[in-house]
Symmetry: C2
Subunit: 276 residues, 2 copies
C-alpha cells in the first residue's frame, strides 16, 4: 500500500512520523511485537513494541557511543558482555577494539537476532565473528549467574517497559557489579532528559550507591525521543574523564572521536542538575 506513514508517539502528546516504503516483516515473538520496515528517510528500521530501536541511517551514533566510551576507558578490555543488543550493532563496534578477545551477546529474543541478520546485515555484521558468542537467554539471569568475569558490560536494552523492566533496577546494577572484575566498567542506555528526567535521576542515584565512579554522557540520535540520548556509566576504578591520551586508538567511526568522548560528558545545565 502506498502513502503510508509510521508514527511513534514518544510521549502521550508528541511523536515522530516517517514515510514507509514497505513492511518487511512483522511478528509477535515470545517477548514483544517485532516489526521490520523499510522507510524513505532512514532506510530499514527495527521496531519493538512500536518503538524505534535502530535505523540504518542513524544507528552508528548509538552503537559507537555505547561501545567506545567504556572500551577506551578500560586499559585492557579483553572479555566483554553485551546485554540485549540483538541487532548486533554494539558487537560490531566492540570488534574494532584489538584488545577484545571475547564478546558475549545475551539477548532474550532470538527473533531480533534472526531478523536483524536478514534485514540489517551491515549492523549485524559482527555476529558471526569467531570472537563472538551469541546466547539467546535472559540477560538479568545471565548477570546473576556471573561473578568476577567481565572487563566491560554494555546494557543495550529497550525502554523500561516489557522485557527490559528488570534492567533498570538497583538489583540489576548490583548484579552487574558482581559480574564485573574488580576494575570493571558498565554502561547502560538511560533514555532522554527531556521526557524521562525522573528515570535518569533514579538510575544515577542507584548506580552511585554501588559504583565509586558514576557518570552520565549524551549523544544526538534523531530517531530517538527528543534527539538527545543519555548513557550512564558505573566504573569501579577507571574514570572515563581521565583516559590517558595514548589509550585512544585510531578506529573508523562516523560519530565518536576522542574529543567527543570527553565532550559527551559535558552536560547542559538542566541535565547536569539530574545527576546531583
Amino acid at each position: 500500500m502506498a502513502g503510508l506513514w509510521f508514527t511513534e508517539k514518544q510521549t502521550e502528546n508528541f511523536g515522530i512520523t516517517m514515510k514507509v516504503k514497505r513492511t518487511l516483516h512483522t511478528e509477535k515473538t515470545d517477548f514483544q511485537y517485532l516489526e521490520m520496515v523499510e522507510t524513505e528517510e532512514w532506510g530499514n528500521m527495527l521496531l519493538l513494541d512500536g518503538m524505534v530501536m535502530t535505523t540504518q541511517r542513524d544507528e552508528f551514533v548509538y552503537h559507537e557511543m555505547v561501545a567506545h566510551v567504556p572500551l577506551f576507558t578500560h586499559p585492557n578490555p579483553e572479555n566483554v558482555l553485551v546485554v540485549g543488543g540483538g541487532d548486533g550493532g554494539v558487537i560490531r563496534e566492540v570488534l574494532k577494539h584489538p584488545n577484545v578477545k571475547k564478546a558475549t551477546l545475551v539477548d532474550i529474543d532470538g527473533k531480533v537476532i534472526e531478523y536483524s541478520k536478514k534485514y540489517l546485515p551491515e549492523i549485524a555484521s559482527g555476529l558471526e565473528d569467531e570472537r563472538v558468542e551469541v546466547k539467546v537467554d535472559d540477560g538479568f539471569m545471565h548477570i546473576a549467574q556471573s561473578e568476577n568475569e567481565y572487563d566491560v558490560i554494555m546494557v543495550d536494552s529497550t525502554e523500561p517497559v516489557g522485557p527490559a523492566v528488570n534492567l533498570f533496577t538497583k538489583g540489576f546494577y548490583a548484579g552487574i557489579s558482581k559480574a564485573l572484575k574488580e576494575d570493571g566498567i558498565f554502561v547502560a542506555q538511560t533514555d532522554n532528559p527531556w521526557f524521562k528526567a525522573d528515570l535518569i535521576r533514579k538510575v544515577q542515584k542507584d548506580v552511585k550507591e554501588i559504583f565509586p565512579i558514576t557518570r552520565l554522557y549524551l549523544a544526538n540520535i534523531p530517531t530517538y525521543p527528543s534527539g538527545l540520548w543519555s548513557f550512564t556509566i558505573g566504573s569501579k576504578k577507571y574514570d572515563p574523564l581521565a583516559v590517558p591520551d595514548e589509550q585512544f586508538l585510531d578506529i573508523e567511526t562516523k560519530y565518536y572521536t576522542k574529543e567527543i568522548h570527553k565532550a559527551a560528558f559535558v552536560l547542559p545545565k538542566f541535565v547536569q542538575d539530574l545527576t546531583k
Copy 2:
C-alpha cells in the same frame, strides 16, 4: 475542535507531530504565514510558514546558545544587533550581559513581534527594556547600511526559504563584516547536519573567505529537525575557543554553561567533515 495533531514535515519523508490544545492566532502577514498554537507537550508555539520557530518549553536552548557563545567570546560587547528574532528570546538573553549598552532588534515582520508579546510573554520579556531598540525593517538592508558599528551581530533567521533567503548569501556575510567593528563577531543559525549538510558546508566555505576565525557549534533542540542544531560563528579577532576564564560571568541559564560553551564546538566526526 478536539483531537487535533499538528505535523511538521521536516523533510519530504520525516517529521514531528504534536497534540494541539487550541489555535491562538493565525494570520497571513506581508511576509509569511504566522500561527500561534497552544500544544500539550511544548506549551505555546510559534510557527512561520508551517515550521516550528520556538516553543515555550524548549526555547531556552536556542536563545541561550545564540546569545551567550558570541557575547562571552567578545571581551566588551557594548553594541549588539539581532537580525530576525522577533520573538525576543535572543534579546532576553543579550540583556543578561552587563556590558551591553545597546541592543537593536531588526525583524522584517512586525506581526511576529506583536504576537510574541501577546502569546510568548516570557520569551518577549526583554523587548521593552530601555537598552533595546526594536525596528521593523529588512535586516539585509539594515546590515548593508551599517558600517563599523556593532561588536556582535546575531542572525536569528528562519530557514533559507521565504523572507530569510538573502540571509544565507556570501554578500550578506560581507555586509555583516562591514557592519561589525574591527574586532567584531557574528553568529548565525545554520540548520542541522543530518538533513542540511550541503547548506552547512556552503556557509562554512563562504564565511571562511571573509572571516579569519570561522567555527561551527551545536546544541540539542528537540522541536527542530533532527534535534541537533548548528550555529556558525565568524570572528575578526576573538576565538570562541580561547576565551579567558575570567571573561565568563555567572548568569542564570538552563542550557549554557562555560563548559558547554567549549564542548559545543566539539563536533561528531560526520559534522566535523562538513567544516573542512
